[in-house]
C-alpha cells in the first residue's frame, strides 16, 4: 500500500479522470445490416482496424479487419455484417475511472474498448491506450511540441502507470552566452512541477538550484543539457556540459570564489555563490568535472521524507 504522499499527480489523475474525458467521441460505426464489402473502403480510408456495429444507437457488436479478411478469403463478402461480427464484447462505461480502463487493457491485451453510456446504454465513444496517454498529457498540460521538452515516450509512460512507478523525464537544451533566454529551462521545469501538484517549498528549491546551474552553463560553458527525472520518491536533475570543466572543485564550492570576468558580474552573476547555493537547496549533490571535457552536476531532491530542517533556503 503506498501512501498518499507517494502518489504522483499522474497517478492521481488515473483515479480522478473518467473514461469519457479522454475517449474519442467522434465514432465511426456501421449498421449490422450493411454488407461486409462496405467495410473495405471504410477500413482503408479511416485507417482503423475495427469498427463498432450499432443498431439504433445501441452497440450490438464489433467487426474487425481480421473478420473482413476472413470473409474475403472465403469469398463471402456480400453477407451482412451481423453474421460475422463478434458479439461478446468487453465494454467500458463512460463514467468509470481511467484506472479501470488501464487495468482492462492490461488484463485483456485488447487494443480498444467501446464506451457505453451507463444511463442510456448507448455507444458514446471508443477508447484506446493512445487516448489515455494523450488525455493525461493534456491534463498536465505538457506541450509535446515545445522544442525544449522532448516528449518522453508515450508507450513507456503507459507501462509506468501500470507498473505503478511513474518516471517522468524532461530534457532541455541550454545555449551558451544567451542571456535573454537564460532561465527558460528552470522556468519551464518550475511550471511543470507546479502543474503536477508538487509542494511549493520543494518546487522553490528545485527552481533555484536548477536556475543557478542553468546560469552556470550559460555563463561558463559552450552549452549543455539539463535532464529532470521525476519519480514518486525524488526529483533528480542532471546538468551536463561539454566544457571547459572546473580545475579545482573544492575551490569552486567556496562561497565567494569566482572566475567570472567583470562583464558577467555586471549582469548580476558570477559572484561565486552559484554552487554553494545549489548545494544548500538540494538534498544531495554530486559534482564531477574534467578540464577540457566538461562537467556533470547531479542534484537530488527527496519527495518522501518530511522536509528536513536546515535543507532549502527557507531556513
Amino acid at each position: 500500500m503506498i501512501g498518499e504522499r507517494d502518489i504522483t499527480k499522474v497517478q492521481e489523475l488515473v483515479y480522478e479522470m473518467k473514461v469519457e474525458q479522454v475517449m474519442t467521441k467522434d465514432i465511426i460505426s456501421v449498421s449490422p445490416h450493411s454488407l461486409m464489402i462496405e467495410l473495405r473502403d471504410l477500413l482503408r480510408e479511416k485507417r482503423i482496424s475495427g469498427v463498432p456495429v450499432v443498431d439504433e444507437g445501441r452497440l450490438v457488436g464489433l467487426v474487425s479487419i481480421e473478420d473482413f479478411i476472413k470473409c474475403l478469403a472465403e469469398g463471402e463478402i456480400d453477407i451482412p455484417i451481423k453474421d460475422r461480427m463478434s458479439i461478446n464484447i468487453k465494454t467500458l462505461y463512460n463514467n468509470e475511472p481511467l484506472v479501470q480502463a488501464v487495468e482492462e487493457f492490461d488484463r485483456t491485451g485488447y487494443g480498444r474498448f467501446p464506451v457505453i453510456d451507463r444511463e442510456s446504454g448507448e455507444l458514446v465513444g471508443i477508447i484506446t491506450k493512445g487516448d489515455i496517454v494523450r488525455g493525461l498529457l493534456k491534463k498536465i498540460e505538457i506541450e509535446y511540441h515545445a522544442e525544449e521538452i522532448h516528449r518522453y515516450r508515450a508507450s513507456h509512460f503507459f507501462e509506468d502507470i501500470v507498473a505503478d512507478k511513474t518516471t517522468l523525464i524532461f530534457q532541455y537544451k541550454v545555449i551558451s552566452k544567451d542571456f535573454n533566454r537564460a532561465g527558460q529551462t528552470s522556468s519551464g521545469l518550475k511550471k511543470t512541477l507546479r502543474r503536477m501538484g508538487m509542494p511549493s517549498k520543494v518546487i522553490r528549491r528545485v527552481a533555484i538550484a536548477t536556475y543557478e546551474a542553468e546560469m552556470n552553463i550559460v555563463v561558463f560553458t559552450d552549452g549543455g543539457q539539463i535532464t529532470a527525472r521525476i519519480t514518486p520518491q525524488e526529483i533528480r536533475i542532471d546538468i551536463v556540459d561539454s566544457g571547459p570543466g572546473i580545475p579545482d572543485i573544492e575551490k569552486a564550492m567556496q562561497p565567494g570564489f569566482s572566475t567570472a570576468p567583470d562583464w558577467i558580474r555586471e549582469l548580476g552573476f558570477g559572484a561565486g555563490m552559484g554552487l554553494p547555493n545549489i548545494k544548500k537547496c538540494s538534498d544531495q549533490m554530486n559534482l564531477d568535472s574534467t578540464v577540457g571535457k566538461g562537467t556533470h552536476l547531479e542534484i537530488t531532491f527527496n519527495l518522501n521524507e518530511k522536509m528536513k530542517l536546515g535543507s532549502g533556503n527557507d531556513s
Binding site: G256, S258, R265, E266, G268, A271
Partner: protein, 111 residues
Amino acid sequence: MVLGTIADKLGLEVKTSGGLTAEVTGAYVSDLLSDVIGNSEKGNIWITLQVHPNIIAVATLKELAGIILVNSRQPEEETLKKAEEEQIPLMTTELPTFQVAGRLYKLIGEC
C-alpha cells in the same frame, strides 16, 4: 557625519587601519561597478556585496569615503591589501543591504 561615527553606530567591523575621520557626504548602494562609476559621488560611503579587488579601484577613482561589505561578506586578501595601499576604509557587517541602508538612512536623517 564622519565615517568613524557611522561605523560605531551601525556596529561595523573595521578591516583596515585609519581613514575613519573622513566626512561622509552620503551613501551609494550598488553591486554593479559600472553603476558606481557612473553615479556615486565623491565622499559617498559605498554599500555592496562585491568583495573583488576591483572595488578598491572604483572607490579610488571616485574618491569614495569608504566601503561597507554586507551580508557577512569578507574581503578577498588582495582586496584588503589594495584597500590599505589606497587608503580606502573597508568595513563589514552581517546585516543585509536593505537593513544597513535603512539604518544608515535613518542615522543620516537624524542629524
